[in-house]
């Protein structure tokens, strides 16, 4: 069996990239970036599986590893806090150099074994895959490894249960329901709490009006309709000032459109002055 030129090219393109991404796992500071690196390695691995006549495993690799396992990793990263960067203080002295040394040693030993061993001439899977790869796999899996598959099924169920049990949190305090909240509100009525939500601040045409109070049914401004932060900062405005400014603006626009009668022209100058003052106020704000 000979390896095609296309596969050779694929290997020499993918292998260095995958090795780089794997090294990123060691050198990258943030856990999320490490997760991205691992995802790249896993997708590259899936491509290599397909190239190596293991199309079923290639698909399973994408679905199980990049689809499920790495997503689970990302979920836990979000849960644990995405900014959690590694501390660089060593608790065991010389651990870093020892780790580098052991990693390099392991690589040297494994590569040495592979280069020293003599492998039989490659057979290739063309014959075994004659009935398509999934069927060939299924025949081995469901004939020779039936017991192992059943045991693995039990293992998966156990793992799912373990995940549920381990992350289960027992409730310490009784659950607060909608009913309890409503009862609490009614009980707080004598202390001056209102049942309804607070009135929204007034909205007038001229300004965005978070800072102007709404008017009550009696026409009096409701101070507590302005957000508390604005009130404390002293940025709340009175409703009458806004209303006066608006009236003057309407009068000016009518005058500009030539809709005012002659006797109203006398007021025109005043309205213009109001408008100018209003514009000035706007700039100040």
């Amino acid at each position: 069996m000979t390896v095609s030129g296309g596969e050779t090219a694929l290997f020499w393109v993918l292998a260095p990239l995958m090795t780089l991404a794997a090294l990123g796992l060691i050198f990258v500071r943030r856990a999320v970036h490490a997760a991205i690196c691992v995802m790249f390695v896993m997708v590259g691995m899936a491509i290599l599986y397909v190239a190596q006549e293991a199309s079923f495993l290639g698909v399973v690799q994408v679905v199980v590893y990049t689809g499920a396992v790495m997503m689970l990793f990302l979920f836990v990263l979000m849960l644990v806090g995405i900014d959690a960067a590694d501390s660089l203080t060593e608790t065991i002295r010389g651990q870093r150099w020892l780790g580098v040394l052991l990693g390099l040693g392991l690589a040297a030993v494994l590569l040495g074994v592979i280069s020293a061993a003599t492998f039989p001439p490659a057979v290739g899977l063309a014959e075994a895959n004659a009935v398509t790869n999934p069927v060939a796999l299924a025949r081995v899996l469901l004939a020779d490894y039936v017991l192992a598959m059943e045991v693995v099924g039990v293992l998966l169920v156990t793992a799912a249960l373990a995940g549920l049990v381990l992350t289960h949190r027992r409730r310490i305090s009784p659950k607060v329901t909608q009913r309890d909240l409503a009862r609490e509100r009614v009980a707080a009525l004598p202390q001056g709490r209102t049942l309804t939500p607070l009135p929204a601040p007034g909205v007038y045409a001229q300004n965005n009006a978070m800072d102007t109070p709404a008017l009550g049914p009696d026409g009096a401004p409701l101070e507590h309709s302005v957000p508390r932060v604005l009130r404390i900062r002293g940025q709340a405005r009175s409703a009458t000032a806004v209303l006066a400014a608006e009236e003057s603006l309407v009068a000016r626009e009518l005058a500009d459109a030539g809709l005012l009668t002659a006797d109203a022209d006398a007021d025109d100058d005043g309205a213009r002055a109001d408008g100018a003052r209003d514009a000035h106020q706007g700039e100040e704000r």
């Binding site: 050779t8 290997f11 020499w12 090795t19 794997a22 090294l23 796992l25 060691i26 856990a31 490490a34 691992v38 390695v41 691995m45 290599l48 599986y49 190596q52 293991a54 495993l57 399973v60 199980v64 590893y65 499920a68 396992v69 990793f73 836990v76 849960l79 644990v80 806090g81 959690a84 960067a85 590694d86 501390s87 651990q95 870093r96 780790g99 580098v100 052991l102 392991l106 690589a107 590569l111 592979i114 280069s115 492998f119 490659a122 057979v123 075994a128 796999l137 081995v140 899996l141 020779d144 490894y145 693995v152 293992l155 998966l156 793992a159 373990a162 995940g163 381990l166 992350t167 949190r169």
Partner: protein
């Protein structure tokens, strides 16, 4: 190209995964290193299946994947539990048994 090149890649990836486990402190990254090692062995399995012309290697790689999925569920659940108890995902902080 020889098929042993794939084995070389698998060996390099395995060593990098092992180094990650030894060097990193964040429990989640350490876990990713373990995953990388499992993936490297899978690549070796698939390559051996091709060398010998027998899909049993692929079946074994399939089993490794399933067991890895189960392991990830339990491992991440443990990490989440430790994080809840100690507000940290660093493997150095879990030294309660140290005198």
């Amino acid at each position: 190209m020889e098929l042993t090149n794939y084995l070389g890649l698998a060996a390099v990836l395995f060593a990098v995964g092992a180094a990650t486990v030894l060097l990193r402190r964040n429990a989640i990254v350490v876990f990713m290193g373990v995953e990388l090692m499992l993936n490297a062995t899978n690549l070796a399995f698939v390559t051996f299946a091709r060398i010998h012309g027998d899909v049993t290697g692929q079946v074994l790689a399939f089993f490794v994947m399933v067991v890895a999925a189960a392991e990830v569920v339990v491992g991440l659940a443990i990490i989440v539990m430790i994080f809840r108890a100690r507000r940290s995902a660093s493997v150095d902080d879990v030294n309660l048994l140290q005198s």
